[in-house]
């Protein structure tokens, strides 16, 4: 008899705790109703990519020495370096260079290891195409500079959350002059004791 009563008691306790948990969850979702949407209306508004964004790779044909380091450090040996040996000058003569962005994983190893800095990451991420073969960029396509989000007149640039002033959650309508929360890299440098080696100040964020 007593055991049965205990069972009923446990049962009721379980039901009550379930109801409590459920109402807790409901209060969370209800609370979300009054928050502003964080939607970025994409083709009209775009987030500004961060400074170290790893987008489409930019390539400068004239700087390249056809050393093929990029091919060796690439996880899948993706870049195609087409060169011939010029017998007269005894130098490599670069003819073509291409990277297939349908296969690239944007790890940035090639950029990291390029001895002449002819490879670099851009902030371009809109790589959709009707045919996957058109993602195979040759040296001309690789040499094009992307339109920056901030300079495109048809796009309203929005700052990402980490680049907003302190306490601001909504990037809409924040003036570009308002500084981001926290210190900029050069401000951090000023507070530090004299660095032993000169360090270049970081990029100015938006």
């Amino acid at each position: 008899m007593f055991g049965f009563l205990k069972k009923v008691g446990d049962y009721t306790k379980d039901a009550v705790s379930a109801a409590q948990t459920l109402s807790q969850g409901l209060s969370v979702t209800f609370d979300h109703l009054r928050r502003r949407p964080i939607t970025v209306q994409y083709p009209y508004e775009k987030l500004i990519p961060s400074e170290r964004y790893r987008g489409r790779i930019h390539y400068e044909f004239d700087k390249c020495i056809a050393c093929e380091v990029c091919v060796r450090v690439c996880p899948i040996n993706l870049p195609v370096v087409d060169w011939v040996m010029n017998k007269a000058t005894k130098k490599k003569e670069l003819r073509n260079y291409s990277i297939d962005f349908g296969v690239c994983i944007f790890c940035g190893n090639c950029v990291e290891y390029c001895p002449t800095n002819c490879l670099s990451m851009t902030e371009e991420y809109e790589l959709s195409a009707f045919d996957r073969h058109s993602l195979n960029y040759d040296n001309v396509a690789l040499g094009r500079l992307p339109t920056s989000v901030t300079s495109d007149p048809s796009v309203f640039p929005l700052r990402e959350l980490a680049y907003l002033p302190k306490g601001v959650m909504d990037p809409h309508g924040v003036p570009a002059t308002h500084p981001r929360a926290g210190k900029l890299p050069e401000q951090v440098l000023e507070t530090l004791a004299k660095p032993s080696t000169p360090v270049e100040p970081g990029d100015q964020p938006q």
């Binding site: 409901l26 979300h32 939607t39």
Partner: protein, 378 residues
């Protein structure tokens, strides 16, 4: 069309309409014949409009919960988005899979939708504002909703697809196991109001405004009913017949175009219907939180005055719909709050939790009815 057994103060559109037509020189039976399809058409249109509103609310509230914007380009605030959805479904190609059973495949969605629409027969929006005040009222809804699993099994079987068959079986199992606690919860209400008729059930609740609503006398029944109604509608904590991760889309997998639209329509009409019935059974139906008679007396108006009658009639419709949509809002919020249950948890909840509680609730109600006949409808 049956005439109401309880003729009391309140709008009687049927009588006034027939009187007006007879005034134009038509015979009594012709006037009745013209009147006959009108309430049905009105309710059908109301049900479809209710679904459109429901779809829009679902999209907008879901968006708000997830801090998105939701539809906003189709009409102001995206109110035309459900229309666009419906149009798209109408114009889509109607595909019957090659190895499917064409006849059953077509009949399935119809069998799912028709009982739900028929159940609107007993939903009252006012003393005389319902299609038919049949004596078995709420029991008609219970028995009609038990036809639905046949349609689900039929479409699941006819699709010739294992996901469809599993989804159909799950849906049928779910709806027959949640029908029992649902019926028991309704039975407790019926016991208190001494009638199966929805009109009587509401009338019995509207003696003292909000204080006499059944939710205070049947809080446990209210919870049971709402959980079971959500399970019957396959709303989110219980939407495992169409669990995307496991069954693609359950019994709807092979459907497209208008046949899919029938399923879609059926599930939303069912949700609105369940919400309306909760408001009828537990939240006083068309009743205003303060008794209308009392308000009219305060303003020095007679309850039988034509203008007051029109106002109370429209207030009743507004109140019923408002209560129903509050519950729909709650259901949508619940959708984004709780995760889907597993099939064993679902059946555990139905058979081991809701059924005993519903039985105890019924017994307690019966005991209370005998002990306090004044408060529990002796």
């Amino acid at each position: 069309m049956e005439t109401n057994t309880i003729v009391s103060s309140g709008l009687d559109l049927q009588a006034s309409f027939i009187d007006a037509l007879q005034g134009l020189g038509l015979s009594s039976s012709t006037a009745r014949l013209i009147w006959l399809p009108l309430p049905m058409l009105t309710v059908l249109v109301a049900a479809v409009v209710g679904v459109l509103v429901n779809v829009w609310l679902e999209r907008k509230i879901s968006a708000a919960v997830q801090q998105r914007i939701g539809p906003e380009y189709a009409g102001p605030l995206g109110v035309l988005q459900p229309m666009a959805d419906g149009l798209k479904l109408v114009f889509k190609e109607d595909i019957i899979p090659a190895r499917a059973d064409g006849l059953l495949f077509t009949l399935g969605p119809v069998l799912v939708l028709v009982p739900v629409i028929l159940s609107w027969l007993v939903v009252p929006f006012g003393q005389n504002l319902l299609i038919s005040n049949v004596g078995i009222g709420i029991f008609l809804w219970i028995s009609l909703s038990s036809i639905q699993p046949i349609g689900l099994l039929m479409s699941g079987y006819a699709s010739n697809n294992k996901y469809s068959l599993l989804g159909g079986l799950r849906a049928a199992a779910q709806s027959i196991s949640y029908e029992i606690p649902l019926a028991l919860a309704v039975l407790a209400i019926v016991m208190m109001s001494n009638s199966l008729s929805t009109v009587d059930i509401v009338a019995q609740q509207n003696t003292a405004g909000i204080l006499s609503w059944n939710i205070w006398r049947q809080p446990v029944g209210f919870v049971i009913f709402w959980i079971c109604a959500l399970a019957e509608c396959e709303r989110l904590p219980f939407d495992l017949p169409e669990a995307e991760e496991e069954l693609v889309a359950g019994y709807q997998t092979e459907y497209s175009g208008m046949k899919f639209a029938l399923f879609y329509l059926g599930s939303y009409i069912n949700l609105v219907l369940s919400a309306l019935l909760v408001s009828v059974l537990y939240l006083g139906g068309w009743g205003f939180p303060v008794p209308v008679e009392w308000l009219a007396g305060l303003l020095g108006q007679s309850v039988d005055a034509p203008l007051v009658q029109v106002i109370t009639g429209s207030l009743g419709i507004v109140m019923t719909v408002l209560k129903a949509y509050l519950l729909v809002f709650f259901a949508i919020l619940l959708r984004w709050t709780v995760p889907r249950v597993r099939i064993d948890q679902l059946l555990d909840l139905g058979w081991k939790f809701l059924l005993p509680i519903a039985l105890v609730n019924l017994l307690v109600t019966a005991a209370l009815k005998l002990a306090f006949p004044v408060a529990f409808g002796g």
